[in-house]
């Protein structure tokens, strides 16, 4: 609760679990250089509950992968629990992932032929845990996510929500410092989404630090702090209440009927891109987050076209309207 209040403020520095300093991730595609992350500074303290939001392609997954030590930044520093992990080798990173990070994926990533219990045991296979305590810890993790009665079920014998719970149990079984989830409810219907969110809430109450990447405002509303990204940079980083105030202002303008027929993902993207004004500056030169209030009628012509043609189409449709 405390961390939620002072979220991005410097006073959190001392207790920060995660500290990112000028993190950049540059992909080279042919001669083109894509700045997936263009200088990100971020601190996240213990037991924070954070949502990362932003348009498609804004670098959310890239950031989460770096936070999860699945990937290394091109430049910048990443301190996890005070340890510099941004320059570690792949073996050491694997160790860090094993010890301190729990990952939940949009598509569950369960091993189809293994039981729920075996799936949850997987991370412990790669740490020095004996057979018996591995089993006990896996059982405990499954009980924590409320699947104590489904341990011997295989993924194809479980519902989507149950599968994601197994995945959460797997992420929790090593007692990680942070739990990272990349669109954990992306493949779930609204009812199961609520179920999984309740689980995250519960874990947060139990003291777990959680970072969720999501497109859905309802999901983000469960968290305490919302980091909005745009073109590889942090656009805003606010406690959930303040973020809501700003966005509710912006939300009022579009009439939902003209975008309701669009696919939901694009709808959200489009919405974000159109309503959040862009200053027309190239992504790489954009500076720190700009939490200043946005005016709803920001010029759409000056707005950088988004990379995918589909989005460009939606943007132009918005412009022609």
């Amino acid at each position: 609760m405390r961390t939620a209040q002072n979220g991005p403020s410097p006073s959190a520095t001392e207790q920060a679990i995660i500290r990112l300093q000028q993190i950049r991730k540059i992909y080279k595609v042919g001669v083109e250089r894509i700045h997936a992350l263009a200088g990100v500074d971020l601190e996240i303290g213990a037991n924070e509950y954070v949502a990362i939001m932003g348009a498609s392609g804004s670098g959310k997954s890239t950031m989460l992968n770096i936070l999860g030590c699945l990937d290394r930044p091109t430049s910048g520093k990443y301190l996890l629990d005070g340890q510099l992990v941004s320059r570690m080798g792949s073996g050491a990173l694997a160790q860090v992932r094993n010890d301190r990070i729990g990952f939940v994926f949009q598509s569950f990533e369960l091993m189809a032929r293994a039981s729920a219990l075996k799936n949850v045991e997987l991370p412990l296979i790669y740490s020095n845990v004996g057979w018996w305590s591995r089993r006990k810890r896996a059982i405990h993790a499954l009980e924590r996510v409320g699947l104590g009665d489904r341990m011997s079920h295989r993924p194809n014998q479980l519902s989507g929500g149950q599968k994601q719970r197994v995945a959460v149990a797997r992420a929790l079984v090593t007692n990680p410092s942070i739990l990272l989830a990349d669109e954990p409810t992306g493949n779930l219907d609204s009812k199961t989404t609520v179920e999984i969110l309740a689980l995250f809430d519960q874990l947060h109450r139990e003291g777990q630090t959680i970072i969720i990447v999501t497109h859905e405002e309802e999901v983000a509303a469960h968290t305490q702090r919302i980091v909005r990204m745009r073109d590889g940079q942090i656009e805003s980083d606010l406690p959930v209440q303040e973020d809501k105030d700003q966005h509710s202002q912006e939300r009022r303008i579009p009439t939902s009927d003209d975008v309701s027929d669009a696919p939901s993902g694009f709808d959200a993207d489009n919405f974000d891109n159109e309503r959040i004004p862009d200053n027309g500056r190239p992504a790489t030169t954009t500076q720190a987050p700009e939490p200043e209030p946005r005016s709803p009628q920001s010029d759409e012509a000056g707005h950088e076209p988004t990379p995918t043609p589909a989005r460009a189409r939606w943007a132009s449709r918005g412009a022609s309207r």
Partner: protein, 418 residues
């Protein structure tokens, strides 16, 4: 420090977990795994069968040497390949009885010696007449040759020294001449000379050497034979044991060169044959066959190995997402490498095992064919060890590349893989 100590333990743990995983993987892809390991199955099966066959042959050959006498040696005249005696007349080259006088005293590695004179003759008894092969032998012959006298007595030194007109007759000859069953004391005519039968020899035991046993045989003392028919002779000896055969040969050579007055630079005018050398020749041949079989197995293992590599590559790309997941939850590249390596090795070892069972089946089939004479065929322990060793090596060598490929996969890209 402790981590260094724990390392083998960790390896062991990954080892058995890896084997479990690998077996599961193989079980879910039974047919594919079987087809993949076919190369190894055939390779191991055929080579173990060949080795088993050789082993059977070897046992048989050794047995016949044993019954024939592995410590036997022969001395026969021989024209040298060069030197003045290359085209010398037979009279110069031939062996004479006196060449062997006192040989036993001078050759400590030789236990017994007999001069032998063989010639053909006409043999008569009552109204029966037939051609026989007459062999003049000395009493030591009984010690060297593995043939017992079933009736009557063996030759004595007195028989030989006195050049007595006595003979030993084989069972077959006795029957052909219609002599009594116990014909000792009866007389027969050989080239019109009268000989008294002192004993009956058993037929030569069945042997792969010297057939022609269908010919009727009669034995007389050497001196007697030399007296009635001087000519080509040779000698047969037994060394103290097969181990000193080479010593015996050297001693005999030195002795014979001396008695035959050969100058130091002159080549031998005789040759010495040791039974052991035939055994060595057989062994050399067996080694040759083993190498040929080894070549075949190398090729089939190579082909099998390429199959393994192929299927492991398929497996890696099929399981890219799984690899990505394992890495994401903290599997080090080395753990992934080990997992796939163990899988390849397990696959190969199972192939080796099936191949071995196949080889055993072929071996039993070979042993059951009566004409083949391989009843003793079996797969020796070293061949089994080798079969597994080679299989494991193939697994490691050909599994390495796919395993390295898997271990180097980028977790994010692997998780994104379709």
């Amino acid at each position: 420090m402790i981590s260094i100590l724990l390392w083998p333990l960790t390896l062991l743990r990954f080892g058995y977990q890896g084997i479990g995983l690998a077996l599961g993987q193989i079980w879910t892809n039974k047919m594919r795994s079987f087809l993949t390991t076919l190369g190894i199955i055939i390779g191991v099966g055929s080579v173990t069968a060949v080795i088993a066959g050789l082993q059977g042959m070897r046992t048989k050959v050794l047995d016949s040497f044993e019954s024939f006498g592995t410590n036997k040696m022969y001395f026969i005249h021989d024209w040298p390949d060069d030197g003045p005696k290359q085209h010398a007349s037979w009279r110069v080259i031939r062996l004479r009885p006196d060449h062997f006088n006192d040989m036993l005293e001078h050759c400590p590695s030789i236990a017994s010696l007999t001069r032998i004179r063989e010639f053909g003759a006409r043999m008569e008894h009552a109204d029966k007449a037939m051609n026989v092969s007459v062999t003049g032998i000395e009493p030591d012959w009984h010690d060297i040759e593995n043939r017992s006298v079933i009736l009557g007595r063996t030759f004595t030194h007195t028989d030989n020294e006195g050049a007595r007109q006595v003979c030993l007759i084989t069972e077959q000859t006795r029957d052909q001449l219609r002599l009594d069953r116990d014909c000792t004391g009866q007389s027969i005519l050989i080239n019109d000379r009268r000989y008294y039968v002192v004993g009956v020899l058993e037929e030569r035991p069945d042997s792969m050497f010297r057939d022609g046993s269908s010919e009727a045989q009669v034995f007389i003392p050497f001196r007697t034979a030399w007296k009635v028919s001087e000519g080509f002779m040779y000698a047969m000896a037994a060394c103290e044991s097969p181990e000193v055969a080479d010593d015996a040969r050297a001693e005999a050579r030195f002795f014979l060169r001396h008695t035959r007055n050969l100058a130091p630079d002159e080549p031998d005018t005789f040759r010495i044959e040791i039974m052991k050398q035939y055994l060595d020749q057989f062994n050399a041949m067996a080694v040759g066959i083993t190498f040929v079989a080894g070549g075949i197995v190398t090729i089939s293992l190579l082909v099998g190995g390429i199959g393994i590599m192929n299927i492991m590559l398929v497996s890696v790309s099929e399981r890219t997402r799984e690899i990505g997941l394992r890495k994401a939850v903290g599997a080090k590249p080395s753990a992934i490498l080990l997992q796939f390596l163990i899988e390849a090795v397990t696959l190969c070892l199972i192939g080796g095992l099936v191949g071995l069972l196949g080889g055993q089946a072929i071996t039993e089939l070979l042993a059951s064919i009566e004409k083949a004479g391989l009843e003793e065929a079996y797969i020796p322990a070293w061949a089994m060890g080798m079969a597994f060793g080679f299989s494991a090596t193939v697994g490691i060598v050909f599994g390495m590349f796919p395993a390295i490929k898997a271990s180097r996969l980028d977790p994010i890209q692997a998780l994104r893989h379709e």
